[in-house]
Structures are given as C-alpha cells and as structure tokens.
C-alpha cells in the first residue's frame, strides 16, 4: 500500500451565519487555504472528494454537482460521501484511500455545512407512522444514552460541565472557532437552561456555517513539504436498530479504534497518542468515547476528564481546537477533527498546539452513533 500524507489543511472561520459567502464561496474559501498551505496548484489535483451531511440541511440536492466549478472538479473525477455526522471523517478516509490504492497521486477533499440556509432540526424531524413525532433533534436522541452512561458508572453531573467549559476555553485559543465565550467556566455552564436532561444549553454544540478542506498526496509527491503521515485509518458502522446493540459503547467504535491502532502499531493508545480530536457534540461524549476508544477501562472515562487529563496542558489533550462543542458545521465537523489532528503533528496548530505532538487521533461519529471514522496521523512514517 502507498503511504499517504496530508500536506495542506484549510478551514473557514466558523459562525452561525456566513452570509458574506454563498455555499460555493464557503467551500472555495477552505480549498484556497488548503491549497496555499500545501503549495499545490490545480494541475496537481487528480480528483475531488466532497462530503456533507443530508442535502435537506440546505435544501440543495446533490450539491457536489452545482459546486463543480467552486471545488475545481470540472473534468476531474468527483465523489460525494455521506455518512451523517461522521461524514467529515469518512470523506477524509475515502479521499486518502484513493491515494493509498494508487488510483490518484493527489486528492483534494472538502466538506461543509451551511446550516444557516435551512433548519437542520426540522430536516431531522420528519414524521414516520412507525414512530410518534417526538424527535426533538440530535440532543433529544442522544440524551437517554448519556443518562444510561451516568447510571451505569455513577458519574457526577459536573463532568458534563467540565468538558463544556474546557472545550470552550480551548476555543478561545482558536480564532476560527465559532463560540468565543470569554470567562467561560463550569459554573457558567451549570447555570444555563436545561435542554434535554441531563444536557444543558452550553453542554450542546452550536449550529455553524463552515467548511474544511485537505490536500492528501502520496509519499513520492510530498517533497520538502510539511506533512502529517496517515498511519492508520478505518471506517466502521453497525445496525442502528440491531438487537443487542450497546448505544453507550458501540461495538463499531471499539472495532474501528482497534483497527487504526493495529495499522499504526499502537499498543497503548493512552501512552502513545499525544493528543486527540474526538467528535464531542454533547459534553458527556468525551468520557464515553475515551472508554469506547480504549484510552481507559469502562467507567473510567469520566475520571480522566475530572482529573484534567484531557485539558490542553494535560497528559492526553482532547479537542485542543475547541471541538464540535465550539464549532459545528455538521458535514465538516468530522474533517475538522481529522485536519486539526494533522495540524498538531505538523506543528501548525498555533495557540492551541500541543508541545511535541507526534502522534494524533482524528475521530468522528454520526447518525444514531452507528457510523464511525478514525485516523492516526504522525510526524513520522509507518
């Protein structure tokens, strides 16, 4: 298999309404940043892989066709990926797979969401006769799983506040992050209104506009550029309505993590991984995923969070960029995790850089927590 690496990451700034740009302008902004960072021109791009969440989120069906000019795909192979909220991660993996397989030398990949152009909660709440019409958006769907996690492991309620405050404190070091809340702390989170018990307003992700792009290339094309080597990557999914499924600790997540650790030669993720960008749209998913990803035993995740292990200055920093809790352009949110992991090992994460970060994880999940995408990037080759 050909070794692939990320040579450019580009992001827009994230905001609730990017009315200064169209959808095309938004994706092009991220692409321009990525191609400048990678120092490549259009003739170097062999194919384009685009991902985003459901078309209903903007009401534009198959936007990859309308966006062909903006994404530089005219006359080139283009592929659209859709795996709900995990799509940003899946898109990166699929783009990189084309390079690893030798199909293309260099692939441009881009993901976006322009949530302000429609209403995602409405798009997620259609009426079906086999279910009462009580779907109050993603938070209402995930909250019962979180309640079950708290019951199972007797976790104290301040853990959720702690994650929410920590990620927004990190966001203050990332000028692109949507939520910039000076003075954010646990107390401020705990005093915000309850939305879906046990989740309060500031324990939930915002609704953002934004795009993220990456240039992924094969080893031979890297040259003297800075690069984040992709040393492991995998996708896994499981049946949403499968009997025996554990929504608190999905098997697909466990399997996906094991796969990338094996590819990257990682025996002990807690010790060997320097930092991780994990898809945490609701505060409690940080401890839940720490366990699912094998960073600790079951029931120990909330203790890592409580001890400050996941802080920017902790021994396993998580969501240095502010995470999904600070910026959530849904379709791009997974790729931002993957791209931020790459920036860390390239040493380009500026104010939210983790010192000596050589191995980083990017993680995304989506749908009803049945889709998973992950990668391990490193400053050195496999």
């Amino acid at each position: 298999m050909i070794q692939a690496g990320v040579i450019g990451v580009g992001q827009t700034n994230y905001d609730s309404k990017r009315r200064d740009v169209s959808m095309a302008g938004l994706v092009r902004e991220a692409i321009d940043h990525a191609m400048l960072a990678a120092d490549v021109d259009w003739d170097a791009i062999d194919a384009v892989v685009l991902g985003k969440a459901p078309d209903m989120f903007e009401g534009v069906v198959m936007p990859e066709l309308y966006l062909a000019d903006a994404i530089g795909a005219v006359g080139k192979p283009v592929l659209r990926v859709h795996t709900a909220g995990s799509v940003g991660g899946s898109t990166a993996v699929i783009a990189a797979s084309h390079v690893c397989a030798g199909e293309f030398k260099t692939v441009l990949t881009v993901t976006f969401e322009k949530q302000s152009e429609s209403n995602a909660t409405w798009a997620l709440s259609p009426r079906y006769p086999y279910s009462p019409h009580i779907n109050a958006g993603a938070g209402g769907y995930f909250a019962p799983f979180i309640r079950e996690y708290i019951r199972r492991y007797e976790a104290p309620e301040h853990i959720g506040w702690k994650v929410a405050a920590k990620d927004r404190q990190n966001a203050l070091k990332n000028p692109l992050a949507h939520l910039q809340i000076p003075g954010i702390d646990e107390k401020m989170v705990s005093e915000t209104p309850m939305l879906w018990e046990p989740l309060r307003y500031l324990e939930s992700c915002p609704s953002s506009d934004g795009a993220c792009a990456m240039v992924i290339t094969s080893e031979e094309m890297v040259g003297s550029r800075k690069v984040a080597w992709i040393n492991g990557m995998a996708l896994r999914s499981e049946g949403t309505l499968s009997a025996g499924r554990d929504e608190v600790n999905p098997q697909a997540g466990i399997d996906c993590a094991k796969d990338i650790y094996q590819q990257a030669g990682i025996q002990n993720p807690r010790k060997e991984i320097d930092c991780a960008e994990i898809y945490v749209p609701f505060s409690w998913y940080e401890p839940m995923w720490l366990e699912n990803l094998g960073f600790c035993e079951l029931g120990e995740g909330w203790k890592l969070t409580d001890e400050g292990v996941t802080r920017l200055d902790g021994s396993l920093p998580v969501n240095m960029s502010g995470g999904v809790l600070s910026s959530n352009p849904i379709g791009a949110s997974g790729m931002i995790r993957f791209g931020e992991a790459a920036l860390q090992v390239m040493g380009l994460a500026e104010d939210h850089q983790v010192e000596d970060a050589n191995i980083a994880m990017g993680h995304a999940y989506g749908g009803a927590a049945q889709f998973f995408a992950m990668w391990i990037v490193s400053s050195s080759k496999n």
Partner: protein, 166 residues
C-alpha cells in the same frame, strides 16, 4: 471573510415539502395491526431476536424477520430524557419525557412519551403500559398510543435487557 459585516442581500423563503411514505411489507403488517390496537413484532429466524417496530430484516444476520410475535403493550423504560424545548411541528408543551420503551419480550426499544406521573418520579427500569387513544381515532400510526404510563410492578434491572444469542 468576516461575518460581522452588514448582511448582504438575502431573503428567507419557506418551502413546503409533501412526501409519501412507502411502508414496505413489514411495516405495513405492523401498522395494520396497530390500527386494530395490537402490537406485533417480528423475530429473526436465526438469532430469534424480536424487533418492534419491525423493519423487515435482522441487522445482526441480514435476513428477513419472518416470524410474527404478538406482544403486550407493557414494558419498561430503558432510558429517558426530559425535554425542555418544543418539537418543530408538534404542539406538545415542554417539559415532557421521551423514553426508550422496551416492550416485554422485545429486543429493541422505541421512543415514546411518558406521562401520568410526576417527572421527578420517572426512573430507568420503571414498568410502563401504553395508554391508547379512543378506538375511533385509531389509524395506521404508533401515535394510536398517546403515551406510556407507569404501572405498579417492580422495576426491571436494565442490564438484563441486553440481547444475547442463545
């Protein structure tokens, strides 16, 4: 680049989408029974897992769920949330409780409302039973059940609910 500039020209234009739901054979069978006030799940012929509402196949084995399994309208709360915000297009007034209801003998849960009890008394493992709309209002919809309400039976240990193949 910056989004704090004065908004440029845009306008909101609401769209109205009508769609037709094609139920497929498993859901059609299920909904025909629901219209008569009965809850009938389907079991996988291989692993024997019971699915309600049935969607026609077992995700574990990838085969059709061909065995019909009549169920009662009793079960327990596998987990729940108290929702404090309204649902788009639903007149329900917050706060209200959405629960994953696990019917007896079923191996998956579905979301439904819990009422007829003080919210603070609701707990994981609590026994509940369906409260149906008046018969003359029954249609092809799980909304024939208004909500689930607690019944005076001992709680279930939800860790015993996890399906394990025999």
């Amino acid at each position: 680049m910056s989004s704090d500039q004065t908004p440029k020209d845009y306008r909101e234009s609401l769209i109205h989408l009508e769609y037709q739901y094609t139920a497929g054979s498993a859901t059609t069978t299920f909904l025909n029974q629901v219209k008569e006030g009965r809850l009938v799940g389907q079991a996988c012929p291989k692993c024997k897992a019971v699915y309600v509402p049935p969607r026609g196949s077992c995700p574990r084995d990838g085969i059709a769920t061909t065995i019909e399994v009549p169920l009662t309208d009793k079960g327990c709360i596998e987990s729940f949330t108290v929702v404090h915000i309204p649902i788009p297009g639903n007149p329900i007034v917050p706060p209200y409780v959405c629960a994953m209801v696990r019917l007896d003998k079923a191996n998956i849960s579905f979301l439904h409302l819990i009422q007829g009890v003080e919210i603070e008394d609701i707990r994981i493992g609590m026994r509940v039973q369906a409260v149906w709309k008046p018969k003359e209002e029954w249609t092809h919809s799980l909304e024939n059940i208004k909500w689930f309400a607690p019944i005076d039976e001992p709680d279930i240990d939800v860790s015993t609910l996890r399906f394990k193949e025999a």
